[in-house]
């Protein structure tokens, strides 16, 4: 990409935001936290993928999905299936009545690997499946809903129902899915032990890297005409439709993209936490993810990351001391966000901190910037955000 292209993708204020977040996640946290805490941060960050997808779907497109746990779960399960198969080699499972299949299948009297598990022997297939299976599933839901102009509260309720259905399905089909326990006891990735501290560091940095890949994709979408169309659709859907756009296609696209992000997050979760279970699929985690997004600010892709970190940090701290009160605190937090600061942390930042920071920046780079503005094309001058 050309320098001009990069500049319009990441204007100065956004570049600063990306740099600060990168500094925090790549340098500050790894240096200041022990591996247990850092692994915990890594786990939180996997939810940030979901929150990021929600910024695009909900914040920009006005599509509130209360079932993002479905896609997080599908991505996580795909990863877990691969790792489980590797952990279930015939040597490792010699004591089972059917060696070579995952232990929970053996406990449920299955005698051979179900057909849909077979392709997960391949890492390449698994990586593709992590992104494609949830995207295709989202595409089907999207076509079924958006082509019929189902939206708003109805869409939210249907996604919630999908989350409930998938949870029940996973729990009910214990022999195929590991049931309520999920897929546990994951050991190695291509022979490399994933339970060591070294592996945790590697996965943490992989997770941060993937998060930045997704952030850049989100930034690209946000800065493209599609991003402005999403805002336009949220405000005046009919006007967009009567400007010659097939509105449903844009909704389907952004819903699929959000789902793909969530799925990558789910896969990262499995790698870092070492298991996947239906507790991350259902209604409650799905709603929690919406809260992360709302606290961060539903129009800010970086806010989504901070919101996720802050809420999860609060959850861990709070529930260590008052476990029974946490859910009430979470509810209160959501009400507070909606009533008091609807644009979340990002809104607070833009209102109180950003003017000072811009002033500081202006002092440092003001001169060269003014010169550029005069020669800059009109298109760049039109770049508002």
């Amino acid at each position: 990409m050309s320098y001009e292209g990069l500049r319009s993708l990441l204007p100065k204020s956004d570049l600063l935001g990306f740099a600060v977040l990168a500094l925090l996640l790549v340098v500050v946290l790894p240096l200041s936290l022990d591996i247990f805490r850092l692994n915990l941060i890594g786990k939180y960050l996997t939810y940030a993928f979901v929150a990021l997808g929600l910024v695009l779907c909900w914040g920009y497109g006005g599509i509130l999905s209360l079932g993002q746990g479905v896609f997080f779960g599908l991505g996580g399960y795909a990863m877990a299936m691969f790792l489980k198969l590797e952990a279930s080699s015939p040597e490792n499972t010699a004591i089972q009545s059917t060696p070579g299949i995952p232990d929970f299948m053996d406990w449920n009297q299955l005698t051979e690997l179900p057909w849909f598990w077979e392709p997960f022997h391949s890492l390449g297939f698994t990586i593709l499946a992590i992104v494609l299976v949830p995207s295709i599933f989202a595409y089907i839901i999207g076509v079924a809903m958006f082509k019929r102009r189902v939206g708003g509260v109805y869409f939210a309720i249907i996604t919630q129902a999908v989350a409930a259905i998938l949870t029940i399905l996973i729990i009910g089909q214990q022999g195929y899915t590991g049931g309520v326990n999920g897929i546990t006891d994951l050991r190695t990735l291509k022979g490399w032990d994933i339970r060591t501290d070294e592996a945790k560091y590697v996965f943490y940095f992989l997770c941060v890297f993937m998060l930045f890949v997704c952030l850049l994709i989100a930034q690209f979408v946000r800065k493209s005409k599609l991003g402005r169309l999403l805002v336009a659709m949220r405000e005046m859907e009919d006007r967009v439709r009567f400007s010659g756009y097939d509105v449903s296609n844009f909704k389907i696209f952004v819903f699929c993209l959000g789902s793909a992000f969530a799925a990558i997050g789910g896969a990262m979760f499995t790698l870092q936490v070492g298991f996947m279970s239906p507790t991350f699929v259902g209604i409650v985690p799905s709603i929690e993810m919406v809260i992360f997004c709302a606290v961060g600010g539903r129009l800010s892709i970086l806010g989504a990351v901070y919101g996720t970190l802050v809420v999860n940090w609060a959850k861990t701290t709070f529930s260590e001391s008052f476990p029974e009160l946490w859910l009430f605190a979470m509810g209160a937090l959501f009400i507070a966000v909606v009533m008091a600061f609807p644009n979340g942390l990002a809104g607070l930042y833009n209102k109180y901190a950003a003017p000072h920071i811009e002033k500081l920046l202006g002092k440092v780079t003001g001169k060269s910037n003014n010169a550029k503005a005069t020669v800059g094309t009109q298109g760049v001058a039109h770049e508002r955000q």
């Binding site: 805002v231 405000e235 005046m236 009919d238 006007r239 009567f242 097939d246 009109q378 039109h382 508002r384």
Partner: protein
């Protein structure tokens, strides 16, 4: 039911729509010529807005045919009708308040209308020139960078007209374009309409008979979903039936 082909830009034949048995538009037929300015008037509830909704695909007809350049519109989706060359302005200004005037016009520019087209869309010289040209025409070139929210009611109406113009539709439908405007805005709008109605057919819904007389080639009076009278503004004004149900004595 399919109508025969004609030389008209728009041929509406036998159009009927019923909502739970109530016929909002009842066996309506009318034809709009190339470059004609047609004004539809009528009392409240006569079905004026419904007719526009039917033409642009927002409401599906129960019966009848709408042909635009001999292309049947009743089976087409809204965005396809727009792409075929029919533009529609709503009664209340429908603009994107969170975007700037520039962005409002840019989104309406007829390019990159698919998902990937929108992702790849670039603000090139063609887009900039066209946006500036339209902004000039709708008296908003000084306000390109303001949020559309901040415009006055009249300016919002102009912006929406501009958003249609940038698509260069062959048939433009305007639903009460001067409603709620100040006297000076009204005058500017009349001038704007006269300029933009060159080289395209226009259907306007309007109440102000003076304004109607000023712009109309032909006037159609609707009453209870049917045509009560049709003709030049003078003919219609003199029609006793029209005076009875609409204009008053």
């Amino acid at each position: 039911m399919s109508a025969s082909n004609t030389d008209f830009v728009l041929a509406v034949e036998g159009l009927t729509v019923s909502f739970d048995g109530f016929k909002a538009v009842n066996d309506l037929s009318f034809y709009v010529d190339k470059d004609e300015i047609r004004v539809i008037v009528g009392p409240n509830g006569a079905g004026k807005t419904t007719v526009l909704d039917l033409i642009c695909g927002r409401t599906k007809s129960t019966e009848g045919s709408i042909k635009f350049r001999n292309k049947e519109l009743t089976k087409m989706k809204e965005h396809q009708i727009v792409r075929a060359g029919v533009g529609r302005k709503f009664q209340t200004p429908s603009i994107y308040g969170d975007l700037t005037v520039f962005e409002n016009l840019e989104i309406s520019f007829p390019r990159g209308r698919s998902v990937f087209g929108a992702l790849a869309f670039k603000r090139d010289a063609e887009v900039l020139n066209r946006v500036n040209e339209i902004a000039d025409m709708i008296f908003l070139s000084e306000l390109l960078e303001s949020r559309a929210d901040l415009l006055s009611h009249g300016q919002k109406q102009w912006l929406e007209i501009g958003m249609l113009l940038i698509q260069d539709p062959e048939l433009l439908m305007l639903d009460e374009p001067v409603a709620g405007m100040s006297v000076s805005e009204r005058r500017q709008t009349a001038e704007l309409l006269r300029r933009i109605t060159k080289d395209r057919s226009v259907i306007v819904i309007e109440h102000d008979m003076q304004f109607v007389a000023e712009i109309a080639d032909k006037v159609t009076v609707l009453h209870q979903g049917k045509i009560l009278a049709e003709g030049s503004a003078e003919e219609v004004k003199a029609d006793p039936k029209v005076i009875e149900v609409y204009l008053g004595h």
